[in-house]
């Protein structure tokens, strides 16, 4: 054991040995740690979405020609409810009236493709058409639509229509923009989308940014 080497009286050697020992321990521990880190990686990755989940999350197509002005449908994309809302001129006009009471009217904090970062939060080719993940940015509930313009028990007396989250009372306008002074702080996300004739493709925009 350790004292046996000491007994020889070569204390300098002993210091050298200790250095060597510490060095080897350090190197082995380091290489071992790299091995553990690399070894853990496949296990961590195995929990990310599988090919099945990715396929289920592939873009969905919807024929929106039947969605008339003032109507709304919900489509499932990646297991989330996506609303397709064809807004009337009155609804569009209402969006401009309430900017002052919104937390982020210009959608600077929220998630949306570049082409939907505008007051309507829609594509310039069809500004009346809202495509939005109906997922409250507070804790993930799906807000209830309040499409009617006018007094509403939840949305207030001068409501221009919007979405109300039943879980914790967050309010959004008809572009999914969040009101001030509610639990949620960001606007609801807009997924990537594109139009192909009467078909809307949700989840794919061919990499378009503006």
């Amino acid at each position: 054991m350790a004292e046996m080497n000491m007994a020889d009286g070569h204390e300098v050697d002993e210091v050298e040995n200790q250095k060597r020992r510490r060095f080897l321990t350090g190197v082995t521990a380091g290489v071992g740690a790299v091995g553990v880190a690399v070894g853990v990686t496949p296990f961590v990755l195995s929990m990310s979405p599988s090919e099945r989940a990715k396929n289920a999350g592939a873009p969905v197509q919807y024929d929106f020609s039947k969605v008339r002005a003032g109507q709304m449908v919900k489509v499932e994309w990646r297991g989330k409810p996506v609303v397709l809302l064809n807004r009337t001129p009155e609804m569009m006009a209402g969006l401009g009236k309430i900017s002052a009471s919104l937390a982020d009217p210009d959608s600077e904090q929220s998630l949306q493709p570049g082409y939907a970062q505008n007051p309507e939060r829609a594509d310039a080719s069809r500004p009346e058409f809202l495509v939005m993940e109906s997922v409250c940015t507070h804790l993930g509930c799906s807000p209830v639509e309040k499409l009617a313009i006018g007094p509403d028990p939840q949305m207030g007396d001068d409501s221009q229509g919007g979405f109300f989250c039943p879980c914790h009372g967050s309010k959004f306008d008809l572009a999914g923009r969040v009101y001030k002074d509610v639990p949620a702080t960001t606007n609801m996300p807009v997924p990537p989308f594109k139009f192909e004739g009467n078909i809307i493709v949700i989840g794919e925009d061919d990499g378009r940014t503006a």
Partner: protein, 263 residues
Amino acid sequence: MKRFILVVFGFVMTVSTSVFAAGGSNDALDTVHMNMSDKASLQRGAKLFVNYCLSCHSAEYSRYARVAEDLDIPLWQLKENLMFTTEKEGDLMKTTMPAEDAKEWFGVAPPDLTLVSRVRKPNWVYTYLRAFYQDESSPSGWNNSLFENVAMPHAMFELQGVQRLVGKIDKVEAGAIDAHAAGPELAENQKLVGDAIFELVHPGKMSPVEFDQAMTDLTSFLAYLAEPAQLQRKTIGVYTLLFLILLTMLCYLLKKEYWRDVH
């Protein structure tokens, strides 16, 4: 102690090799020479599979997109050549034929082929695919010398042509041909598949050599299909082993260092 182990080990080896020299499968199989890194061969196999197999058989654990990615098939080519228009590229490779219809037409539902190469082994698949022959006594008009009275008709006769069974040789003899013995004397248009001698009575679009190559491609694809991970695992394995050699060497030095204390 060491001598003891050696004696026991030696004895076990002697006994096991002498008593059980014979064994294994009873079928006479041809050896398929696959090259799993030959992407072109796998691609040709995939095309044959989709065109000739997938209309009746499914590969329901496999996805088109994965096959395309693994075999370097561009997405447009996948969609144009390998898929039905209604399918998404991430879909499972299901057959278009409803199972009930298939059962009515063939008597049995055609089995799923995703794992056939792991259940039957590639040599069996390769021999089976080449062993169809014309047989009027069977309901489909076809028979197979490796899988007698199989319900499946010859799906690729337009490629291979029509062959008839001339005779069979001894199975053990057939099994030895690849290794060291020469085969029986064959006429120009005759061919030995497994233990069966066939005569080509009506040539197909491919020559016998081309057809064998095509079946090698198809067998390789089925082998890939049964275990897609095999394309990656050997590469990862080499790096893993190199790393472990390094780590073990370090551990050895570390142990030597510490054990200098122990006398």
